[in-house]
Symmetry: D3
Subunit: 316 residues, 6 copies
């Protein structure tokens, strides 16, 4: 019973523990009640319908719960699903920590934390260094546990840190190749650029947009945090240092139509935007190709204009 959901073959009998990620009560066309459940463990998601659901099932089989799932693996419209034969909440002695059933970044939190600290050391400008340190002392935990998005790229626990640190790595390498780039401004921007997501999103499980997330958005939210930090540290908001740090973060979506209120007007802002797109793109392609057989095309990738990508034959 230690098999992961993704490891079962078609038509194989499933008997595993799983986290309920979403659960929606629906009617069939002919009026019968069922629950459409998204089961999940660290190998990914598997949907299934519980037919003729009873009232106490409707009440207890809710998002965040861990269950023992039994059934048969099949597929519906080319997507895997489970034909449920039985599902119940776990009991004493069985697994009970949601965190064990979530997809995690491929690097441990502690390692990411060390990386973060190493990058902060590269920021020698005292204004930038203190703003960055103040914000990470405040939001360190959330930074390490939050996803980078609800859908699209890096939508797993730790995704925010994993994505931000990947960009910081790119920033470090590229500013070595191009000496004209201000390395520490790039790194500060890489670490801060998506930090507003810890206010925009509800958390790593059943991720939703908060009200502030919907109505203000993570770009204005991280700017708010930088402004408040600078205010508390008594830094002058009209100084060039503060203005360009905020600019690099505000402009990171690159285009106004992607939600940045200003377009990049510093070389570092333009480069940070491009590195953000590069890392997000690679993560989306990698994640899609991981589920694709060699010599075939992936599913359409929403965040890349619905393109399908081909997996080279000998590249397994």
């Amino acid at each position: 019973m230690t098999k992961l959901l993704a490891e079962y073959q078609d038509n194989e009998h499933i008997d595993s523990f799983a986290l309920i990620k979403t659960a929606e009560v629906r009617l069939t066309k002919t009026g019968k009640t069922y629950i459409s459940i998204l089961f999940s463990d660290r190998s990914g998601d598997l949907p299934g319908n519980l037919w003729d659901a009873e009232d106490n099932q409707i009440k207890t089989l809710v998002p965040g719960k861990i269950v023992r799932l039994q059934g048969v693996k099949g597929s519906y419209r080319d997507q895997p699903q489970v034909q449920i034969t039985q599902v119940r909440l776990t009991e004493a002695g069985e697994p009970d920590s949601p965190s064990d059933f979530m997809v995690h970044a491929p690097v441990k939190e502690s390692e990411m934390n060390e990386e973060l600290n190493d990058f902060v050391l590269l920021i020698t400008n005292p204004t930038w260094n203190r703003v960055v340190r103040k914000l990470f002392s405040q939001y360190n935990d959330l930074f390490l546990r939050y996803p980078a998005a609800k859908f699209n790229h890096h939508n797993f626990s730790g995704g925010l840190a994993f994505h931000s640190l990947s960009i910081a790595k790119l920033a470090k390498n590229i500013s070595n190749q191009y000496a004209q780039l201000n390395q520490e401004l790039l790194i500060a921007g890489a670490l801060l650029h998506d930090l507003g997501k810890v206010i925009e999103l509800s958390g790593p499980i059943a991720t939703q947009y908060t009200l502030a997330g919907s109505l203000i958005g993570h770009i204005a939210l991280v700017d708010e945090q930088i402004v408040l930090a600078a205010n508390e540290l008594h830094f002058d908001l009209q100084s060039e240092e503060m203005i360009i740090l905020r600019h690099v973060v505000l402009a990171h979506h690159g285009l106004l139509e992607y939600g940045s209120p200003v377009r990049p007007a510093l070389m570092e802002a333009e480069v940070l935007h491009q590195l953000d797109e590069l890392d997000a793109g690679i993560q989306m392609m990698t994640s899609a190709l991981d589920k694709t057989d060699s010599g075939t095309f992936s599913d359409k990738i929403f965040g890349l204009d619905n393109r399908k990508f081909y997996k080279i034959t000998d590249q397994d």
Copy 2:
């Protein structure tokens, strides 16, 4: 010598006082130095070239200075200009206040200030009222004297207040017609929406973008001011009241491609955006048609997709 620049006819001899708005030293194709000057008084602008400029003229005839201008009115490429015969700084006993030579809003500062106070009284929600009052106690003077833009609409002294108060009037009328609109939220948004311009722009004379204006923009700047005010007043940034006040202001450009980081997601935010466009549009058309003869078309209006507008024959 009391005639205004716009009152002279073609080929008439000019002898008036004027403010130098811009002055650029250039070479002719054959290498001679001249100064391209934009003269201005409260009737508008008039360009002219000072040929064979001498060094002390280059040093003294600079933006912000008041001069006595003599010459002949002509036109170049369909635009009025002056053929300068003489130009010198004003002397003791002659006019010396730049403010007397600027285009002003058609309403007095003191009246606009009263209107502002009356509108603030309509905001009975204590959170919104205190934020608005705090910001206007801080920026009242600049609000009453700044233009609303460098070019385009309301680009005159007092334009910021004149534009904001016009929208507030529209907001008041329209929320009377549509009872479903929250009048005080609309009015608070109308008053605050462009307040970031007092940081974005350099002031009413020879208006330029500040560094913060170019790299952060007036939308994020007014949000910064609201955040700092709320912080000082100990209001909760996560409360619905604060979130929707910020939203209404952040979303007022309506579309991401116009620089709002979020699109309107409140009925009041959508309406404020539309009233902003309506007032700006009417001001641009009015200003263009003021210079147009009945029965003919105006110049192209940049802010309205370069359309020309027709002035109805009997509408003078």
Copy 3:
């Protein structure tokens, strides 16, 4: 049995009279015949499927008929529906007027008619006044009973008049605030702008596009009507008065891509276009928020770029 369809709770037994708005005969995947019916009363619409439909049901349960509907209220894919237990045509003594089951404008026809007459009195220009009066003497009834659209905004009986009169009210208020606007041209435009809909659409019940509606469109159709009226009144089509009246109406969609053959080139044409958008937008948001709980977001609104709008908590 006086309860309206929208007043039933989930799982409650329904027993009400209703109008059949649409009825489509379909096969299940396994080949059985059923009728997919849209029931309707003045509280809104409710879909339901009549399984194993018999031939005489297929013949009699058609759009425009009034039925007694019995069943249970449920939902399918988050949309309310009814599980039909019985449905039959009404009999003698039961309701038989489709008009009683339609959604109506929130103002009575007679009141709207008075408002219309009041607005016509404000049009003192004799050419415009006579054209407007001629057309409303011809189309008064249809104007008061037609919807303003098949979908989107004001798609209820009387919607055309309700929408046109709202804009006329806005026009009157706004031309009071901005004296440079020609009030009577704006009002004439407001009343006429959508009048072509009485030819474009089939009527208030089961609204469809007519052939002329599909191939010519309401903008060219209202222009046709103005041209014919002017012709009969012996007005000169080359006079400025006639040209600008037609222009204001032809340009009211604002952009070529929205179907206006010319863009607004009169201040009044631009303002009329913006007021049209403002009123349509407010109506769509109001209608969506009426079905939304406080503190949550509405469904996506098609006519507003599929945005969802938030309903403020204390705004019930």
Copy 4:
């Protein structure tokens, strides 16, 4: 002195009669008056400046006049121009008919008139035939003498007829190849589609937009004419015949953003639109390549997205 303007070589002395097409009085930068004149004969246009213009020259050298022009051919910014040595109005015994100096369609009016009549005979549907005949009995002369546009394609005398008849020819050929096309509807559409230009434009010399042209546009204007003709002929505007005839004409710009209030929804409407583009495109390319040397690229063609076209080496 029989040489045409286009036949002179660079640096050759010019002595020819020419029509003044446009004449604008301007100031040099140093304030001297000159007239910028566009001379023209049936070989094309040639601009030149008359320096130090005297008052009586300003009064007499105006558009529509025929002059004797003397000077030297040169070029300014890669465009041919004339260095004027002398210019005066023609005297008794010298040419005096502007029509002799205009660019004309490459086919005679009388031939085009015959072609027109032949095409009308192909329209056997009595409704369409009578509408077409009524309109051409009314506008025959203007149709044969007007240009098809102010700029862009077919902007010469007779261009409207030349363009419309070319499309009718294409329509005839193509409906022979594709039997599913209604030939007479296509031909009626080809003849009528641009007829509104006789109201939209001021005429073949110094062509301007009329007020109706600017505010209503040739598409709604031709629809107006068809409606009035049908009205006078007592045809039913709601008949399919009338609706589809109007549709074919209204939709001929193909896209809403090009000014058609409806997109083509008949096979014949779509085909007419494409033939219109085809003929206009070929005319623009031909006209540009006529001025281009073999083996080089033409100037940019505004109406074809500013593309330059290459002239094949052996294709003279």
Copy 5:
């Protein structure tokens, strides 16, 4: 049993031979296996589901097979379908050639071949003639049997030749009307422009994109073929003849966003592009209107911006 699939009425019993075009094994929501089959003969396609499919049915009822199909004709979501009662592979003595069950171009292969040869004779330029002949000697068979597309226009056996020859016919006629067009270049372009489809697509049955089709596309593929042919014939790739032949083919999609790497820069390239659109458009409209009743609108046509087209009443 000689009836074609399209000839059966609703509810009529079907007993016909058919080709299996696609066959997908799926699960019902409740987990039962069925095969979703697309049956086809030269009258068109008909989908149906084989419920409770057995293993040997799953193995044998695959694309390309001919079967005897029994069932009842019905419809599902407005699309015709068959309720299968029995389906089995054909036996000895019954039809066995897939080609007999495919939709074919309305002209015979042999006739199209003759037309092709006639057109090649019109290409007298020896370079173009030899390149065209070389490629058609190589790809003649595929050219005559391939469809012109997977979906959209001319997606039937022989569609590639039928479409290319229609354009060649248009090219011949139009270059007769406009003498300035190089007829043989146009014809060579018409014949070659889509020839890359024989590499891009898998063939006339169950048409798929090949790997080269997906990753290189038919435009670069036909260019590759022309380059290789010219190389083998020892023609100079830098000669104007070769450059313009390749250009006409490379640019035939007209716009970069439609996949041409260069926009048309020869009059013939622009015209070829427009003729391609014209023929494809007419074919799509014809095909949609063939399935439409007079006086009603067709289904939306994907390749024409999802427009619906109206079928004129008397046009059957």
Copy 6:
């Protein structure tokens, strides 16, 4: 006389050798002949006008010639220019090699050649390695001396190699960070992607588009070269290796509207496209900021949507 053109101050007397890059003979408005010359040395360009040019100057002062230039440095419309006092061809004993007066890549040809060889060694796939080696044995010299563009980025001698090798460096670093990328495919793509420019452009001096460049474009031209190389090496064009190598090169502009006939459909193709944009962007910004004072904004950069970039104060 060893000073470079860019080293002179305003108003300083110039006496230097320079290359004539472009020379156009023009007329003044008053009809006098002058030559508009672009002088150039390895510090950049400097325009100047030679007034009252004589015939033998017009004949000898042509692009590619080296001259001794004397005059005074000034500026015209904010751009530096020279007021020429004397200019003559260089004589025996004075400089005569155009190459000494061109802007060169900041790395020597020999070093770039070594780098190129090192990168080729990293391509171990024998198909890709042999195609790359074949093409570089053929075009090595041109690759090292050509610019990467006529305008925009890397428009200097050696720019093609400098740009391609920068991308190869990025490719190497980034495929170290992301192990899922195929490093050798990325490097092969980086080296080949712009190689078609050696056919598209005329060379490093007075760079123009060739006929093949204008009508076919560098993307189809490099594909042509790969196809011919593969053909000669007897590689199968249908093999996955050849298809994906061509794809990576064909797709490198990323979007169809930028001239790629296919969009990236391999992870490596997408990444190569992004690295191309990154390097081009950094080069354009660096080049603009090199001419910008700290604390001010650069000129608009055409290739970056006409944005201006700010130069940080302490970043000299």
